[in-house]
Amino acid sequence: MVKLIVNGQNHEININPDTPLLWVLREKLGLIGTKFGCGSSLCGACTIHIDGKPIRSCVTPVSNIEGKSVTTIEGLADAEGSLHPVQEAWIEHQVPQCGYCQSGQIMSAIALLERNPNPSDDDIDTSMRGNICRCGMYGRIKAAIKSAAKKV
């Protein structure tokens, strides 16, 4: 049994403790907003937060996060269901194309703004370079981060 806190809810899951968190989220908890991209921490599509820090869930064994707090894309909206300002900025700038990488992009962007509320272009480059967007929406992601920074 592995004990998990995901988006504020407690779960006890009977699973091999080596299983990456990604597959527990998707297959056991039905939280399919977190995506599988590369399985090797190379693309960022599976990024979630563990205690507020951005982590690649595809290479993180579920046993490593026992007792820690996990936040996924599904856990961003507030109690009333309002979107996080970063999500709103994503809509404002019409960021997603295929959209597959965007949960990971948004999770990385929120983590960046939480530790650096006013990031420069270089800060954004450094923090976001781990997230590939094959549709190439980097300019829009950058603009959306800056506009969210004003509101966070």
């Binding site: 090797s40 809509i91 997230n131 190439g136």
Partner: protein
């Protein structure tokens, strides 16, 4: 619609049959035996945006619920006055659901804010009739790549309309202009006729606006007239608006698919859930054509959660309780593959074969004007260059996947696909069941770019479900996705120009490998009186397919590099050189001038910086780009891309701009890093560490300017890609004096020209 001349139609279809066979042998994948004679005849006549007669019986069952009325093939109205557009194309981020719905709403006078959108079911009645018609009658510039993207569907069926393809930048320019505008206008006319009957007033006294019909002060919602409208026969040639009357088209409407893509609720193929499903993963023969010789799964069988391990001849499959368990088991299966002679082939050999083919094989001429041979011999001087481009993978962010459930002789498939009807046909052929026993449920695609037009992954899911007896969600690893792609073909192009005393080309000869998809990819836009473009076939065992902008990627790079070399050879500024050769083409000239002006062509730049320019016409759109590059560190850094595009008009300008931005980054990843290499017959690369993408820190700023002209609406999804590689290498040349004739740029180092 003009009545087709039956004799001509038959001839056209024969041509299609022949060229399909030809393409098939090079790009063939499935069901060659299914290429039966396509018969000409009445079937072709149904190629019209709206379908006459009593449609509700045929189509309603697929798309209507409860109190909804289907007004034309592509639109239904509910009793609460919700208008729903039914879109026959897949959404992969190109914004097609929004653009096509807006086109329908525009002509129908529907209320955009209250509109819903669904993707058409994978049923023949929802095939892209207009696309198919234009395709078959040759009245439009449809790329022949569509032949193999339809795979079994169009060919096997011999039901000439069996196409539901998303590709070739066709959605807006064919389905939109051909079907959605007409369907919207026809629906409006039907509603007005119904209102005229119900209110006993003449149609001329009625108007439609934002979902309501008005007569003087009286108004009523569309829904009040939907039931009667649905029984009336639609006008096949309704009156369409002029472009200057558009209210929705030409506005940057927010894309309808975006909210679900920021809150995690968007459903992609990989998110499909079927009660009781297991998870599967596969490893296919690393060398195409190999089969399993010996499989030792003794270790894998004992692993927890493993449900079944299957030898599928050219691949092995594991089905387990979860993907992770399936993957772990797959990794410990020991497989020996059969040997074949292909095992000795690497890309050095493939390129040598290309070179030999060009030298020794008889070429087939694609474009010819004047007399190149005589002129090159008699020219004051001539200039030659040879270019190569590598194989490229699509690298969709969402790995290939599909969920299938075969039971009782029927099969359901859930997948993101650019080719739902082809998927049905191929599955039916493989499982030896009727096409009506196959249902395809489509979902968003986490990237397509041409890859998801091939139904190989859906086919595997169906086979594995049948073999295991359970519903299976098949997920490929990233490694499998990289190594079992349908690659952008590698190519070699040899160019020769005859020059006058000023270095201006008077003759242009090109020889390259592979037939063209689309054929105009190798055409030269410049005013050169004598041109000859020829290809030689040199097939290899590497599976190839359509890759964003198809063969315009190779030829945009070849042609726009060569013209740049001619400019520098003549000692003329590369932008001015192009201008001289485009004097008779005002549309091209305008696009070129706009890009140059946007970038401030000729302005002073910091040390190590330079600009390069390129212009490519593809999919009926003309795009010019100016790249500003900085090579001062020795490694090229793209600082800015200025992009001017004339696609007639942009349906959704912000969406169009996004397509240009996306096409540029896609092409830039290829130019800088993209290379699939072959060793011992198999693909070397496996994941993003050795198949690199442009990331945030190497992405340039991009400026896009849309040029509106009176021309037919051109494509948006692909035309942004071809100019970027030549614009970049031309900029590098200007900065360094070093000419890149072999892509990718890779690890080449450059030093600033002094």
């Amino acid at each position: 619609m003009t009545k087709p001349n039956k004799k001509n139609a038959t001839k056209k279809i024969e041509e299609i049959n022949r060229s399909s066979l030809k393409v098939w042998s090079r790009r063939g994948f499935i069901g060659a035996g299914a290429i039966a004679g396509i018969t000409a005849g009445g079937a072709l006549m149904v190629g019209i945006a709206i379908r006459p007669g009593d449609r509700t019986e045929d189509l309603s069952a697929y798309v209507t619920n409860g109190d909804e009325q289907l007004i034309t093939t592509w639109v239904k109205i509910a009793s609460d006055n919700t208008v729903t557009a039914i879109i026959p194309h897949g959404e992969m981020g190109q914004g097609v659901h929004t653009a096509l719905s807006a086109m329908l709403a525009e002509e129908m006078e529907a209320d955009w804010d209250a509109m819903k959108i669904i993707e058409a079911p994978a049923e023949k009645d929802y095939a892209n009739f207009v696309l198919a018609r234009e395709f078959i009658f040759g009245s439009a510039n449809v790329p022949t790549v569509l032949f193999d993207t339809v795979n079994g569907a169009m060919l096997a069926a011999a039901k000439s309309m069996n196409m539901q393809i998303t590709g070739g930048s066709t959605s807006v320019r064919f389905t939109g202009t051909g079907a959605m505008l007409t369907a919207g206008a026809a629906a409006k006319e039907l509603l007005l006729s119904a209102a005229s009957k119900q209110w006993s007033v003449s149609i001329s006294e009625l108007r439609a606006e934002k979902g309501f019909i008005y007569h003087n002060d009286k108004k009523a919602p569309f829904s009040e007239f939907a039931e009667i409208a649905a029984t009336l026969k639609p006008n096949l040639k309704p009156k369409l608006k002029k472009r200057n009357e558009y209210q929705l088209i030409g506005k940057s409407l927010p894309r309808v698919d975006i909210p679900s893509k920021v809150d995690g609720t968007a459903i992609f193929g990989i998110d499909a859930t079927v009660s009781g499903m297991k998870y599967g993963t596969v490893k296919a023969a690393p060398v195409h054509g190999q089969k399993v010789k010996v499989m030792d799964a003794s270790l894998a069988k004992k692993m927890p959660g493993v449900y079944g391990i299957y030898n599928m001849e050219d691949y092995i499959a594991v089905v387990a309780d979860g993907y992770w368990q399936a993957k772990n088991a797959l990794d410990v299966i020991d497989v020996t593959w059969t040997n074949n002679e292909i095992k000795n082939i690497d890309d050095g050999i493939i390129f040598e074969q290309y070179r030999t083919a060009i030298k020794t094989r008889k070429g087939k001429t694609l474009h010819k004007s004047g007399n190149t041979k005589k002129l090159i011999n008699e020219s004051a001087s001539f200039y030659e260059a040879e270019y190569t481009v590598p194989f490229l993978a699509h690298a969709c962010m969402e790995p290939m996947n599909a969920t299938a459930w075969y039971r009782d002789g029927k099969c359901d498939i859930w997948a993101g696909t650019q080719n739902p009807l082809g998927t049905r046909q191929v599955t039916a052929d493989t499982l030896d069941i009727d096409i009506d026993s196959v249902t395809v449920h489509t979902a968003f695609m986490g990237g397509g770019f041409g890859r998801r037009a091939n139904p190989d992954y859906t086919n595997q899911a169906a086979q594995i479900s049948k073999k295991s007896g359970v519903p299976v969600k098949l997920i490929w690893s990233r490694e499998e996705t990289t190594q079992q792609d349908f690659y952008r073909p590698s190519a070699l192009g040899c160019f020769k120009a005859g020059l006058d005393v000023n270095g201006i080309p008077v003759a242009w000869e090109s020889k390259f490998v592979h037939d063209m998809d689309p054929p105009e990819a190798s055409a030269v836009i410049y005013d050169i009186p004598n041109v000859k473009a020829q290809y030689m076939e040199s097939p290899s065992h590497i599976r190839v397919g359509a890759w964003r902008s198809v063969d315009h990627t190779q030829h945009g790079y070849f042609t726009e590099s060569f013209i740049d070399e001619l400019a520098s050879n003549a000692g003329i500024d590369s932008y001015e050189f192009r201008r001289r050769l485009l004097k008779t083409k005002p549309r091209h000239l305008n696009v070129l001038d706009t890009a140059a002006k946007m970038a401030g062509w000729g302005k002073a730049l910091p040390d190590g910086h330079a600009q390069g320019i390129a212009i490519v016409e593809s999919f009926m759109s003309i795009v010019a780009q100016v790249v500003t590059v900085d090579i001062s560190s020795g490694v090229p850094r793209v600082v800015n891309v200025a992009c001017a595009a004339d696609a007639g008009m942009a349906i959704n300008p912000n969406g169009f701009i996004a397509q240009m931005e996306s096409g540029i980054i896609f092409g830039l990843s290829a130019a800088l890093y993209g290379e699939i290499t072959i060793s011992n017959g198999s693909v070397d690369q496996s994941n993003f560490y050795d198949y690199r993408m442009v990331r945030m820190d190497d992405a340039p700023s991009i400026d896009v300017e849309i040029i509106t002209s009176d021309n037919r609406i051109g494509g948006a999804g692909e035309p942004g890609t071809p100019p970027i590689a030549p614009a970049l290498v031309n900029a590098i040349y200007k900065a360094s004096g070093q000419r890149v004739r072999n892509l990718p740029i890779g690890n080449q180092k450059f030093s600033v020209k002094t």
